[in-house]
Symmetry: C2
Subunit: 457 residues, 2 copies
């Protein structure tokens, strides 16, 4: 309101230094500017507001993220004290900065991540430092002319070999960062050995400051609100089992239960819940890799069988794959209407499906609870045997009619393949899109004409 | 043979300085040592041999890996010349080492990776340097006592805020490395500003050397055997389509074709081929992220629609999911024997399945060729329409018998769910393993007794 008022004032009563007419033009100009500025400011405010909401949501989703951010700040501040306090600084000199650098690059979200990076960094620095000092001794004997050439050759060979070693899967998985630091330290020490007099002292200072940096990181991650990768992996596995159970429960109550609704299934939450399980491999693998670096903590020993979680994860993803096939099938099925042609058999099969789903869901729930509380999961096997029995009964029931059973089996294959056909049609559409957006070449004229002549292409 | 001979000599004729008896004992001792050493050496040799084979295989699989390793060596050697040549060294001083450091951490396998890291590093250094110099100016006015305290507070606040920003998905995806370098540079400059006199000159030197490092990396990656992430993504997508086609071709020839063998399907290669597609998400995402940083190259423009490849990838993985369900079903189906109860219908469905598979396979092959050669894929749609027609015909054929159709549909659901039951049984077994290896607590006695009493647990 204030703005409108001001515009009116400069528009109507604009008679200061300028004439009334000029005042009007200037007023309109400023009013235009002001309106534009206001819309820009409003847009900016909208963006800031949206951003703040997003930040708030991310922080609320997992408050440990805020704790981690503060921990990084704390570790950096702690380590920078080395530089500010004169007696400490005199011991290490400019090398103190390496402690700061180490904290920034080593500090990770989980204890395992920090440990893995810190140990990799410390050991790689130590080994590379020794080798570089040796290389310096050798190069030193070749005179002033030969030394830089020999050093350059050493750097070339070691950097190439070490870089190649990063393509070996085992090294890539656990020591990738260590190899980088190895190349880094070797190059730095070897190159600077050409001009630095007291190489050993420099190497010693640098190694000590790196160790100080690593220790600062470790103390902060382990003693201030630690985030254990192993615990996260444990919880993730239990949560994934829960999600699978949720899908089966939903299937039972919405499709086979007494209250099986005829409303549209497509928007139902339970038909989406398995999707995050399908994409859990990457985070599971990295958590498992970090967990192996962690010392025993809480309920987990040092040699806790972390790789078993990966096996469970692979099976969960297999389940989720089947669920994807099932979900798309259930949705299409519900859209088509059938006459009730064989109500007795249909009811039997539906009941069996419901039983299998609910027992499996119960078993998965119990397994997830057992994992979460770390109790041996015997009752789950009992529940599972009910689901197996339901499946067996259904098979026996159906096998009385051999013809029906045979038709059923070929029908299942046909259905699965026609599902594939639907997906492949979507693939062809996306490829068309890609061709259009990516300016692919057109095929020769004749072929194109044929394509245009086909109706409903 | 030589070894055996020597042992016999020292054992039988060991009569030099020692007596015959002593000589025998010493001989046996040395022979034992030698044998042990020999077995250790043989084991070592075996390991070295296996390792060399593995390295050879990795290099042969993709010779660009060797080229990349040599490129890293080359870039490092080039940049270290800055340090060896006195006039160049005088310009930059000890900061030259930052060029070496930059090369080691920025050099990536693909052009896009190097560009993304290099630009992130250069810009983050620039921005953080400016802010840090500003922070130094502010802190400088607070006297000798206040300065370190104020600097420490600045470092704490900025490091915490920047670390938190890494949890925002958009920043994580593209600017994660930049944020790390931002924290690093800000801390280093802010902390060292406490003791360094000519801060601006130091910052300037450091920034120039980092730019030199980045430029060295970029020249080496772009002009010496470049590996383009975009091209790799393009090829990966085409290869994945090919793999899906291979599965369908195999299915057609081994299960529905004329030569459909009755031999065991389980070991067949085509039933495994889709598995690598299922796990392609992580590498696809990172290649796509890098490809977006790359300038136009070869057949790809700067704004090539890279995200379309991600969409294609998601659909391919959906296909692979269905194929997993299909593969496990086909294997179980083939193990069970049925009487030929309804040969006419079975034959019809089998033929329809065969047609759908072969047409879909052809369509996928054509799509992959179209993508590989970057030609608009119109013929694929034509081929696909044949598969759609086969599916439709089958549906019409079956829908004449409404009862059969209905039974079929509930049967498919039942089959898919009983597939799930099988997987969940495996999950329960793995959970049992985990409980055993992870020393989970036993449940209370009563429950345990019940569990033991159930046969075939």
């Amino acid at each position: 309101m204030e703005v409108d008022h001001r515009i009116r004032v400069s528009d109507g009563d604009g008679n200061g230094e300028t004439t009334a007419g000029q005042g009007g033009v200037v007023g309109v100009f400023f009013a235009g500017c002001w309106l534009r500025l206001r819309s820009v400011l409003a847009g900016l405010w909208c963006w800031v507001d949206g951003f703040a909401r997003k930040v708030g949501r991310i922080a609320r989703e997992d408050p440990r993220r805020v704790a981690h951010s503060l921990k990084v700040g704390l570790a950096l501040t702690l380590v920078s004290v080395l530089y500010y306090v004169t007696p400490l600084f005199k011991g290490f000199g400019v090398s103190t900065l390496w402690a700061v650098l180490t904290v920034v690059v080593v500090m990770e979200y989980t204890v395992g991540g920090t440990l893995s990076k810190g140990l990799n960094r410390a050991f790689a620095t130590l080994v590379a430092g020794f080798i570089a000092v040796g290389a310096h001794q050798v190069a030193n004997r070749c005179g002033a002319q030969g030394e830089p050439i020999l050093l350059a050759i050493f750097v070339f060979l070691l950097a190439s070999a070490a870089t190649f070693s990063r393509f070996i899967p085992e090294i890539k998985a656990r020591y990738d960062y260590g190899v980088t630091i190895f190349i880094l330290t070797f190059s730095l020490v070897a190159v600077s050995s050409y001009r630095v007099e007291e190489l050993i002292q420099l190497a010693h200072q640098r190694f000590s400051t790196i160790v100080i940096g690593v220790l600062t990181c470790l103390c902060t991650t382990i003693f201030v609100f630690p985030v254990w990768a192993g615990e996260d992996l444990h919880k993730l596995t239990a949560a994934n089992l829960d999600k699978l159970a949720q899908f089966l429960q939903g299937l039972e109550s919405e499709c086979f239960g007494e209250k099986a609704a005829s409303e549209n299934l497509e928007g139902k939450a339970f038909l989406q819940v398995y999707k995050s399980v399908l994409n859990s491999k990457a985070s599971e693998d990295s958590l498992c890799n970090f967990a192996k670096w962690e010392p025993g903590h809480g309920k987990f020993g040092f040699r806790h069988p972390w790789s078993q979680y990966q096996k469970l994860g692979a099976l969960c993803r297999q389940c989720a794959s089947s669920m994807e096939a099932l979900a798309s099938y259930v949705i299409t099925l519900q859209k088509s209407q059938y006459p009730e042609a064989n109500p007795e058999l249909t009811l039997k099969v539906r009941m069996a499906c419901g039983e299998m789903s609910s027992h499996s869901a119960k078993a998965l729930k119990e397994l997830s609870t057992a994992i979460r509380t770390m109790v041996v999961p015997s009752p789950a096997s009992i529940t599972m045997s009910a689901a197996i029995k339901a499946a067996k009964d259904l098979r026996n029931e159906l096998s009385e009619d051999a013809a029906l059973l045979q038709v059923m089996h070929v029908a299942v294959t046909a259905t699965l393949i026609s599902d594939l056909v639907t997906t492949i049609v979507k693939i062809a559409e996306t490829a068309d899109n890609l061709a259009r957006l990516g300016h692919f070449k057109n095929p020769e004229k004749t072929q194109k004409d044929v394509a245009i002549n086909i109706p409903n292409r």
